[in-house]
């Protein structure tokens, strides 16, 4: 873990990567806060001549933003919940199957991923509407889970496979039932992978546009609202950028909260 940077080249490389990742975010930020004269011209200014927070005001007060944010958060946490609730038992079973059988199941899992989202979106939407769940966060979450679940399950299979079967065998001999061995040994040791799964499921829903726009056109999630805003809303592109900035805040918060659990050396000391 102690990968100490040794020379200047290392810092330069790191700097390039940081610029590459952070520059677009910087652009979004300055577009959101610059006066129109800075943006809508050839060679827009990289440093705003003055700062305006009016777009944030538009976003927060013109759109009933809290309601849309709530729908997005609701859907994202539900997707995380559904993916964990179904993905953990499925992945654990797959990880303890004979290798050959598990490959077959995993290929089967990815069938929904093989069809473009917009195409599979229609039958999924039809089913959701048939259940009377259109324009609800639950409907969005169920639809999004059908796409996210295979990917999350696959990640969890990897997490459970990294826990040696020897440990749950040991727990069984120590007197634990199958369920106790899973809850007290396999599950805590797979937490890193599970947190990754939670974040990815959450992010998938948070960013997801196609299914959300089909299933919940009136109660838009935030990405759908941004899109609507760019095409027909008040404030135009700068306001959309202000949306994006606000959209980032919960993501950063979630990653910061869970990052201390994203350790890679949890298995140290188990065997030998």
């Amino acid at each position: 873990m102690s990968n100490k940077p040794k020379n200047l080249l290392w810092y330069i490389a790191l700097g390039i990567v940081c610029i590459f990742v952070l520059f677009p975010i910087y652009l979004i930020l300055i577009v959101a806060i610059s006066p129109p004269s800075d943006i809508f011209r050839p060679n827009p200014a990289l440093i705003p001549s003055s700062i305006t927070l009016s777009r944030f005001y538009i976003v927060l007060y013109q759109y009933n933003f809290a309601r849309h944010l709530y729908i997005s958060l609701e859907a994202a946490f539900m997707v995380s919940g559904i993916c964990m609730g179904l993905g953990i038992p499925a992945a654990y079973t797959i990880s303890r199957m004979p290798k050959k059988a598990s490959y077959l199941v995993i290929i089967f899992l990815f069938i929904t991923q093989m069809i473009p989202e917009i195409q599979i979106g229609v039958p999924i939407a039809r089913t959701i509407i048939g259940l009377g769940l259109e324009d609800t966060a639950l409907g969005v979450a169920i639809a999004q889970s059908s796409i996210a679940l295979p990917m999350i399950t696959y990640i969890l299979v990897g997490a459970f496979r990294s826990v040696p079967t020897r440990l749950s065998e040991s727990a069984r001999i120590d007197g634990a039932t199958k369920l106790e061995a899973f809850l007290k040994v396999d599950l805590p040791l797979s937490l890193t992978g599970i947190y990754v799964g939670v974040i990815l499921a959450w992010l998938f829903s948070w960013d997801e546009f196609v299914l959300a726009s089909i299933i919940s056109p009136l109660n838009e999630t935030v990405p759908v609202l941004i899109y609507a805003n760019i095409t027909r809303g008040i404030g135009g592109i700068p306001a959309a950028d202000a949306f994006s900035i606000i959209l980032m805040v919960p993501v950063i918060a979630l990653v910061l909260i869970l990052q201390k659990y994203l350790r890679s050396n949890i298995m140290a000391g188990a065997l030998k």
Binding site: P164, R166, L167, E169, S170, A171, R172, I173, D174, G175, A176, T177, E180, K184, V185, P188, L189, N265, I266, M267, A268, G269, A270, L271, K272
Partner: protein
């Protein structure tokens, strides 16, 4: 009392017969060793006893109670795995107390038992540490402590010393003997190391390709190996086996195709009386001096022969030259064409012996 009996235990996975027909009786307070080359089924037998694998047919009983259909958590056994299988997310204390916590014992009782077992194994100072920050020898002790704490009917050990370095292995071997003596717990121990089997076992079963070849006390098996396989597996260096004695024409005995001589039974000094003594001439290939003695490799009847010489004999033997070897006839094992032991040379009609 805890007596374990395996009756006609067979295990087949697909077409592979992992256990052919295992019958054995482990008596109360035994230290029973399964010895055999890797892949012989000794670990599989252990896993079947523990309930981690289900036998295809056969019966396992403890004190007359059939446990064949019990899951591992109901069998009241402990298992020390080869690689310890400590729970890495738990401290040493939590690892050791895990079997008691699962059994919902009171905190008071857990504390007392952990204290008792950790002082027995001198691991009190590391109780608060995680398995990743203790040494291999300490992990071994923790694994044993976790196995002992629930006072199992039978303690199972799967090659527990094979991950330790040679020096530590000697220490732990004596330690295991002490643990068995003081706890009096019925133990089944799997190893491929004949030294561990000889020194630890009160009884042992030599296994090969899914079958038990021979059972008995270590000395009994050492003295009367059932066939050449057992003979060459027990003792270090192994027994010298000559399988082409007919072709060599040196010894001819009715119905005997192979003879075996233990390295320690060979002497280079002429005994006072040649009665009951066989003399061989072997070409010396190499001498490994070990201090007060030396291990010699020679050629006899087209095969290598190993024997020891003492310090006072070092000068009498030269590499590349022939040496006279004297063996008491009673120390020469005779094997028939099925490689089964027929007896010792002294008790058999010997038709012709050539030098």
């Amino acid at each position: 009392m805890s007596e374990l009996i395996l009756e006609n235990v067979k295990l087949k996975i697909g077409e592979k017969e992992l256990l052919k027909n295992v019958n054995l009786t482990v008596k109360d307070k035994d230290f029973y060793v399964f010895l055999g080359p890797s892949g012989c089924g000794k670990t599989t037998t252990l896993r079947v006893i523990a309930g981690l694998m289900k036998e295809t047919s056969g019966k396992i009983t403890i004190d007359g109670e059939d446990i064949s259909n019990l899951p591992p958590n109901k069998r009241q056994m402990s298992l020390v795995f080869q690689d310890y299988a400590l729970y890495p997310h738990k401290t040493v204390f939590e690892n050791i107390s895990f079997p008691l916590r699962i059994a919902h014992k009171s905190i008071q009782e857990i504390r007392e038992k952990v204290k008792e077992v950790s002082s027995f194994l001198s691991i009190e100072p590391i109780l608060g540490k995680k398995p990743s920050s203790i040494s291999g020898g300490e992990r071994q002790r923790v694994a044993i402590a976790r196995a002992l704490i629930k006072e199992p009917k039978i303690l199972l050990m799967d090659e527990p010393l094979s991950n330790l370095d040679a020096k530590l292995r000697d220490v732990v071997r004596f330690e295991l003997k002490r643990i068995h003596r003081e706890s009096g717990i019925t133990t089944i121990y799997v190893t491929h190391d004949q030294l561990e089997a000889m020194t630890l076992g009160t009884n042992m079963a030599v296994m090969n390709s899914g079958e038990i070849v021979q059972t008995g006390s270590p000395m009994d098996i050492f003295e009367n190996p059932k066939n050449t396989l057992v003979a060459s597996f027990i003792g270090s260096p192994p027994m010298n086996i000559f399988s082409e004695i007919k072709e060599s024409g040196i010894v001819h005995i009715e119905n005997v195709t192979s003879i075996g001589i233990r390295p320690r039974a060979i002497s280079t000094s002429k005994p006072k009386s040649m009665e009951n003594t066989v003399k061989f001439k072997a070409k010396v290939n190499g001498i490994n001096i070990l201090g007060n003695e030396a291990l010699v490799q020679g050629d006899l009847m087209g095969e290598h022969i190993y024997f020891y010489i003492y310090r006072n004999e070092f000068s009498s033997i030269t590499e590349g030259k022939y040496a006279d070897l004297y063996v008491d006839m009673n120390m020469i094992y005779l094997f028939d064409e099925n490689k089964e032991l027929k007896g010792r040379m002294a008790n058999t009609e010997t038709e012709q012996i050539q030098e």
